[in-house]
Symmetry: C2
Amino acid sequence: MGTASGDDDRHVMHQGGGVNLSARRPFSEALRSGLAETFFPDDPFRGFGALPPKERAWGALKYFVPALEWVPQYGIDKFKFDLLAGITIASLAIPQGISYARLANLPPIIGLYSSFVPPLLYAVFGSSNNLAVGTVAAASLLLASIIEDEVSPEDNPELYLHLFYTAAFFTGIFQTALGVFRLGLIVDFLSRSTITGFMGGTAMIIIMQQLKGLLGMKHFTSKTDLISVVGSIFKYRHEWRWQSAILGVCFILFLFSSKHLKKKMPHLFWVSAIAPFMVVVIGGVFDFLVHGDEHGIPIVGDLKKGINPISISQLRFNGKHVGVVVKAGLLSGILALAEGIAVGRSLAMIKNEQIDGNKEMIAFGMMNIVGSFTSCYLTTGPFSKSAVNFDAGGKTPMSNVVMSVCILLVLLFLAPLFKYTPLVALSSIIVVAMIGLIKVKEFIRLYRVDKFDFCICMVAFVGVVFFTMVIGLSASVGLSVLRALLYVARPATVKLGNITGTEVFRDVKQYPHAKSVPNILVLQLGSPIYFVNAGYLRERILRWVEDEEHICKGHGQDLQCLVLDLGGVTSIDNTGIGMLGEVHKGLDRKGIMIALANPRLQVTEKLVVSGYIKDTIGEESVFLTITDAIASCRYGLRRFRGKEGCSEV
Amino acid sequence: MGTASGDDDRHVMHQGGGVNLSARRPFSEALRSGLAETFFPDDPFRGFGALPPKERAWGALKYFVPALEWVPQYGIDKFKFDLLAGITIASLAIPQGISYARLANLPPIIGLYSSFVPPLLYAVFGSSNNLAVGTVAAASLLLASIIEDEVSPEDNPELYLHLFYTAAFFTGIFQTALGVFRLGLIVDFLSRSTITGFMGGTAMIIIMQQLKGLLGMKHFTSKTDLISVVGSIFKYRHEWRWQSAILGVCFILFLFSSKHLKKKMPHLFWVSAIAPFMVVVIGGVFDFLVHGDEHGIPIVGDLKKGINPISISQLRFNGKHVGVVVKAGLLSGILALAEGIAVGRSLAMIKNEQIDGNKEMIAFGMMNIVGSFTSCYLTTGPFSKSAVNFDAGGKTPMSNVVMSVCILLVLLFLAPLFKYTPLVALSSIIVVAMIGLIKVKEFIRLYRVDKFDFCICMVAFVGVVFFTMVIGLSASVGLSVLRALLYVARPATVKLGNITGTEVFRDVKQYPHAKSVPNILVLQLGSPIYFVNAGYLRERILRWVEDEEHICKGHGQDLQCLVLDLGGVTSIDNTGIGMLGEVHKGLDRKGIMIALANPRLQVTEKLVVSGYIKDTIGEESVFLTITDAIASCRYGLRRFRGKEGCSEV
């Protein structure tokens, strides 16, 4: 801030106040850099330019098939870890697969199928070393709640199942397309607050629904809102079975204590990891021995031996259900992406690895497309399984392959044994998994830090609990987008004052010792200036000026100059430039000069091209710093007074 | 930037680097100021606090009924001007009213009715001294195109008319509600580019449609797209009448030369203002004399004497059409508001007056509600009429009253005379009015200044011309909103360098002579940081760091510190704070320190409350200026090296 002292004002003014007005990128470069920042923020191919064509092709192939990256360096040292991790997650995949399939009112075997094929695909296309693939509770319930509106799983189980395959197909196409067209930013619209609230609400509903299994009931509502669920529990209270309830309480206590153990002794994580499998095995043996099925402890029922049948021919693209299926596929797809990518990112961060959101989307998409051909429904990277994989020391996606092989063996040889799994065991596993998702502490933290975020979170929670999952999710996202628009519709403008003894200008509200400059109003604008906020900014700037005129009059002086600090303005559009022109006109009539300080590159470009700088305010009114602008304002005032006096105001 | 020299680093670090971390507003104040900025950016009641209750009540009443403001000071000196202006706009209101009613396929008399009641209401509630009230072409056509889809004006003219009244009623309710709830910002979503394109496209379609009248045709399509319109002209080419065409060309030439005259000799503006009325009178007399109706020059037909009949009982709220009517009402209402407010604002700006967008909305709403009760359809402040009012020297809304009285006299005594108005005269008037709305120069300017704005404009234009008006409008608004979201989803981050010999830091791309600081990366963030862009910013910051590490390694050095200039960040949300935490974690692992420079008030508040400053980066890492941050980084590095060396990277 020392380029301009009083002596070389004239020099400065001829140069456009030191601002590089000629720095202008050709359109092609501006467009290229704009597109690159929008769609390729990670710049995947940087550093490729220098390589010979063959290596470049190999690099590109490796980019799309990350397995080529890690397989050549794979050895027994890593396999040890992956083997252990793979077996551990397989033991979790069996009960979870069966449970979540039941949550979606699908045959339990579908849950096992879904833990066989998709993990293999993820191992090839996935970029995360920590993610374990499987079905997820929230998306299962969401799919069920949408598809049940159209087809009843009791009346037409076959069509119902086929619609799930079709939905998974659409999910896959959608996810792949998002990845290929690099539109990962859609996932960004599910904010942390939305996900916290949505997950909490879903967990709450799922827990309430498990009372069906825990109480051994046979009839239940297909609706997901709290009132229907609770009503349903009491409506069929004659179906309550105490045997089932007692067993359920025991299982839940066991699972909780295993979790507690993990917290106290982290190296015993595997106890909590295999606890669900233990529950299934113990429950199955117990039920087999006491013939529980006949004594109020319903069981899963027949599971067919054999691997996934091909289901391509069962996809339903024609007919009247396609609209609902597309909706179900897209919504659950976004949800699954949000969970999978968030999980992958947070685990990668702990190990200081990088994952690529767009690659992940393609990997998820591939596994859902192929999954829909092989009797699987929606899969992603669930938090619980991935965390276990991470804790168990999985090093590469190979752990998914190990899990897949384990499930293959189960499907080929052991599936019929799981027939005796009591439903109450599955319900207990779900309840314990879900309780951790109701993050009361996070709700409280949100309330303390940001009331609006808290609202967004609560809208999702309340919407899911009392209405439907789709309503909760879309209301919360809608509120988030509204907030995003409001942020830019009402950008903060602050009055700056000089911090005594320095050349620093800061917000006078934030730093009460910052002193306003006499006769000059310095305003800092922030965020892009464009059609959404141009009208507001015009009114607001004119109001600042009026207020300042009032203050100046109180001291018997006139406001003579307005300095706009544009350092925080990242871009400006046609409407925004028009607004600046109108402000200039309005002030000109009052005899107040206007000066711009520190416009950024994109803004300077636009202001120059539009003729605003040359034709409206003049190159001599653009400055590198606020200090320069003020010095020049004073100089201009002296000149102005000398010529015509200062009577116009 | 002089608070911290090397000597008092320790002092600075204890204070949080001079940033006022304790400046925190209580929640109530933060909420109040947030709401006030969002909904009351004009702060209507400021300066009221000091007044006694009675005056305050009077002030509030005056706020809601602006007529109370100007009527007491009204005198004959102003009335002279208003009388002249009122008569001039009345002469324009008659042909325009009849023309636009015909454009909407309504009985011509409705156009006159609509120029009688609404202007009286505007005179009471309106805040602009320049606006002249009347019907508008674009909104008339839009209403017709939506309502015609539901009810044919030929088959069921009565129902068709009643739906127009009902749409006007909904428009009025909607506009009033927007004004009362101060949601004027909805209008901001119609950007200048959208309006330019939409108006241009609509003008083009309207001009093409006038070929029906100019050629004296009887049959025509009810669709508005170019292909249907042109197809229709040729399909019924046996209906073409040369008599009508010749008369049309004469009228158009006359109207154009009157406009040209105004441009050359601005004081003869009244010639162009009354030219349309002249065309109607001359055409009527001519048609009467030559019995044009029988010789291929169709006429308007019977116009009933008498003032507006009451139409409350004709509003249709029940039945199946209500959805379409609401849609028509809302869309045309927004469009009418956008035109009316933009016109009011630009005229007010020339005279250096202020108009209040929210008050205007209430005024428009009132006139449409009452209008719908008195056989009027949608009215607003059209550009053409208002500009004539302005040119004719209208001083207050009284000119609307004068116009209203003139129309009253016409309705009572002269209406039947307008029976002989040839349709070709009305078509000529519309064509000439519309040609000015196709702003080719503005299209070219947009293309030069901002390609994206040009796209938004062209989407509106092409959408209107080749599809429907609703498609054109919504696609263009959708694209604008997408752009708004992209702006905030991909905020610019720039690397700053020091301008030699100063303490100023600027974008190294914009100012190539700005020098990077050795071992330290200074990044400037802009715009709010929140869920939409948090993911992007994390990736982008980490990529900047990687690139910088690469550069540093090239010089045999390590990157040791990242300084984030938050001066341009206007706000931050929960997801954004989480992102900063993740960046901190990632850099911590690489041994790179992080420092924040110049956070704004709202951001500082959030960072403090969330515990980010205290628990994550520490108060000693927040600085008032970049210079302080760099000085402290160097100091920290010295200390750090002294203790443990710098080997971690």
